[in-house]
Symmetry: C2
Subunit: 195 residues, 2 copies
């Protein structure tokens, strides 16, 4: 009963995510938001609790989408192959507007506490996932026993983050493939003919 809604919740979320991803929290204005997302102001406040509520839900929606990538680090058996797959997939993914999570980190002075702690957990989770694969690689003999798992994990996270960010800052169409080959040879070198 009652007048039917003219919008679909998941579709609104999808479009809002894209917009916040591109322009950030402050850079996204309500006028454009309601136009692009296809929802009216009234419903936006009733359904999402305003701009900040929609932003936070968009951020979590983005993190869910990222499971396409992060799940690659959870595949059994853990090891070097997962790490290689992760970098290849990251390179193939469309990060034209950078990483939404990292972008949000840079707006900590303006986004709510919920969004801020979510970004923190996301980054920590990424580092932990890398570390688990490094540790497994050591156990499986793909990496030498003396490997500093935490140091290597941080190195890999930083590189992953850097490749994404570099893709935005570098001239359009710059090929990251050759940088990835360097990484591959690096991992080859670490395993040192073990496998």
């Amino acid at each position: 009963m009652g007048r039917p809604k003219t919008w679909d919740r998941s579709e609104v979320l999808r479009r809002a995510t894209r917009l916040f991803w591109e322009k950030g929290f402050e850079g996204t204005h309500l006028q454009e938001l309601v136009r692009v997302a296809g929802i009216n102001r009234f419903a936006l406040y009733k359904e999402f609790g305003g701009k900040e509520g929609l932003f936070e839900e968009s951020l979590r929606n983005y993190m869910k989408d990222m499971e396409v990538l992060t799940s690659l680090l959870a595949r059994e058996p853990l090891g070097l192959a997962n790490i290689r797959a992760m970098f290849r997939a990251t390179d193939a993914y469309d990060f034209h507007h950078g990483c939404f999570v990292l972008n949000t980190v840079r707006e900590k002075h303006v986004v709510g506490a919920g969004a801020w702690s979510a970004t923190r957990k996301f980054v920590e989770g990424g580092e932990a996932a890398f570390r688990r694969n490094v540790e497994a690689a050591v156990v499986r003999g793909e990496l030498p026993p003396a490997t500093d798992a935490e140091g290597l994990a941080r190195f890999l996270v930083a590189l992953d983050i850097g490749l994404i960010t570099y893709g935005v800052a570098a001239p359009e169409g710059t090929d990251r493939g050759r940088a990835l080959e360097v990484l591959d040879r690096f991992l080859d070198g670490l395993s040192g003919g073990r496998r």
Copy 2:
């Protein structure tokens, strides 16, 4: 003759740079800007041409400051030692608010064309500087002749960018030193006992 100014140009620029660096172009409001920078609105428009003018000059001021780092890649003789020094210095520098240039890249939808092209040139310049040192390292025998200089240069730029960005996103006080040691061993591995 006339009433004396109550502000110093370079000091205003220094403080504006810090503020824009931290909060970005959109996130920095005139009210706070004039208060922190110690200049009045009228003079800000007469001297810098408004918010956008001051922003662009702040960005260039930041790039000048970065010469403390970028000059490390120009030291003769070019080679691996420069690259190692660059990463050590980057790690030691205070990038608590990330890199101003990279932050600006993420605001391309709102900053002027001048600022935008300046960021592009800065990143390209960084990559070129890395590449020159890689090429020199090959000539000097520090790296094998088959080295893909451009690929390695991109790899290093991405890593450098990533370490800065990771430092902002990771929990406060996270030690990047061990990630740097991984890089050092990586470079050792590349040179393969040549030097």
